[in-house]
Amino acid sequence: MIRASLTAIAMAAFAVAAPAAAATIEFSPAVVFDMGGKFDKSFNEAAYAGAERFKKESGVAYREFEVTQEAQRDQGLRNMARRGANMIIAIGFAQATPLEKVAKEYKHARFTIIDAVVDLPNVQSVVFKEHEGSFLVGMAAAMASKTNKVGFIGGMDIPLIRKFALGYVEGAKFVNPAVEVLQNMTGTTPAAWNDPTKGGELARSQFDRGADVIYAAAGGTGVGVLQAAKDGKKFAIGVDSNQNYLHPGTMLTSMVKRVDVAVYEAFKSAQANKWKGGISNLGLKEDGVGYSLDDHNKSLITADMQKRLDQARTDIIAGKLKVTDYTAKK
């Protein structure tokens, strides 16, 4: 008797579950953040800002997952797809390999990956021309430097970060061929994205060697770099998000990478059923990268500097000024 009633309950549950399953074909967005976390004040936080903007405007909530260990990337993506999310955004180059696997298994779902290229029909890859934006902040650094030494601090030592570095060096040398660029990488594991004390030490060592402007392309590690610049009363350049507000007065500018726009656009186009796979490569021309100028740093960027930066920007867009892309160099 009990068994019979249990069966009946199970049947009823199935009956209820069936329409629910059908309903998941509705738009169901998700974001998988990478190491560093969505409050890294930089790369992941930009993605978070984009997702939040979409949620506010459309009223559609999104699911999220923060990767805290390397092994979780696969799990995170797979769980989202399995639970019926059909527009999943993977933040960060490191998710490319797991995403490739998961995207093949869940063909109905749409994926957007930021900072890497995955060549599958249901994946949209968004990459940025970071070297172009870095070129501009490199120019700003060289123009602001009094010691003719500027610094670069990267997160994990990967080609993507070398791309930032190379653009920065070229920009600095463009303004002043004699400028010396000190370079450090924080580490060779993903932990390098979230080690502000190490970032601070690296920054101090570069300041001690005479640098007076440092560009941090290191996710959460950069927070320590910017703090060290403030403590040492030197200049720092933020990355990915506009970080000027963190320490007004010592933040020269930020190399903004519009991850927020990419995330927002991906969600929005998917909701309107206009989402398409393929690769989009966003540079200065598409406003995908740039340098930030706001109330917090307008006293540091002189009119003359701004003029030269805008000129360079126009030249790069027009193709008159070439910036080397480290990842395309090979």
Partner: protein, 323 residues
């Protein structure tokens, strides 16, 4: 002159990186000398770092943050003592449990309280330990060699760095020149003898753990409110284990342990400095290799030069009274 600048900045960096190691290693020294193995240094530091940053962010005072850090760290030390001294539990398991518990609990509380993904808000300048300029550092800075050395290396650190350096002779004095120190060493070697002499083994070990908690608390506060300006997830990054290694390397003696901490910190500073530098005859060494140097050096030194490291004989063995 350029070399001098390099040397001075390296020494400065060494001191800054070594400070939490020194404090934690000395904390471990008290614990292990009393016969309690403490691999929970990492967890205590992390808990203290969180408490310091959270309380400093709310109260706006670095000292209140430091007090909170010490309180949390001592509480964790007492949990360890309760499990492993009062109840004769396995000391390694209890220490590891503290590490795992804090690694999860601190970011969770951070999310609940500050809504910044487990971090604490960035601290304002007056909620951190500011560098202290010692007297005459400005005036003497122009004296060749000694001037900059005094101004940059000795002066200009924050309170906790001086505290860490002062803790070394203080510990040496307590452990080797006081009655408490004598009993502490005895209880780590032969608790039964101490018990026969009518001294409470349990109370001695509790006191050692409290001292350990205080020192780890200061180390944690240094990480989040002096060296950086906020708590982030896993910010101790293995420093507790490194401190433990320094303690073994230093053969459970205060001064050699201090030197071991300085050595570890120095290799770290060296690693930063060697990156991307064109070395004579070698060329630019890949970052990966440079970053492996501190670990290689540690392994080499531990394997080749440390000799026989004899731990306190009763360490890790719970004390059970003879019947």
């Amino acid at each position: 002159m350029d070399e001098l600048v390099v040397v001075i900045s390296m020494v400065g960096a060494t001191l800054r990186v070594a400070t939490p190691l020194i404090l934690a290693a000395l904390g471990g020294l008290y614990a292990e000398r009393s016969g309690v193995v403490d691999i929970g240094l990492e967890g205590k530091m992390l808990g203290a770092a969180f408490a310091a940053a959270a309380v400093a962010a709310v109260s706006g005072s670095a000292l209140v943050g430091l007090a909170a850090a010490i309180a949390v760290s001592v509480a964790l030390a007492l949990i360890h003592a309760y499990a492993s001294v009062t109840h004769n539990g396995n000391q390694v398991v209890s220490g590891m449990a503290i590490n795992i518990m804090v690694a999860g609990l601190a970011p969770t509380l951070g999310v609940a309280w500050f809504h910044q993904g487990g971090q604490t808000p960035m601290l304002k300048d007056d909620a951190r330990f500011a560098p202290i300029a010692l007297p005459f550092s400005r005036e003497l800075a122009d004296v060749p060699l000694l001037g900059p050395l005094y101004a940059e290396v000795i002066s200009g650190h924050n309170l906790l760095v001086y505290l860490a350096v002062a803790a070394v002779p203080a510990t040496a004095w307590v452990v080797f020149c006081t009655r408490f120190g004598l009993r502490l060493r005895a209880v780590g070697e032969n608790p039964h003898a101490v018990d026969t002499a009518g001294v409470s083994v349990v109370w001695l070990r509790y006191r050692a753990m409290i001292l350990c908690g205080v020192l780890c608390g200061i180390a944690g506060a240094y990480l989040s409110t002096a060296h950086s300006a906020a708590f982030v997830r896993d910010m101790t990054a293995g420093k507790g284990y490194l401190a433990l290694a320094a303690l073994i390397f230093g053969k459970w003696m205060p001064w050699p342990t201090f030197l071991a901490c300085l050595l570890f910190a120095f290799t770290d500073a060296l690693q930063v400095r060697l990156q991307g530098v064109d070395l004579f005859l070698v060329g630019v060494v890949p970052v990966q290799f440079i970053q492996a140097i501190p670990y290689l050096l540690t392994v080499l030194l531990l394997a080749g030069f440390v000799g026989k490291a004899a731990a306190p004989r009763a360490s890790a063995i719970p004390f059970v009274k003879d019947r």
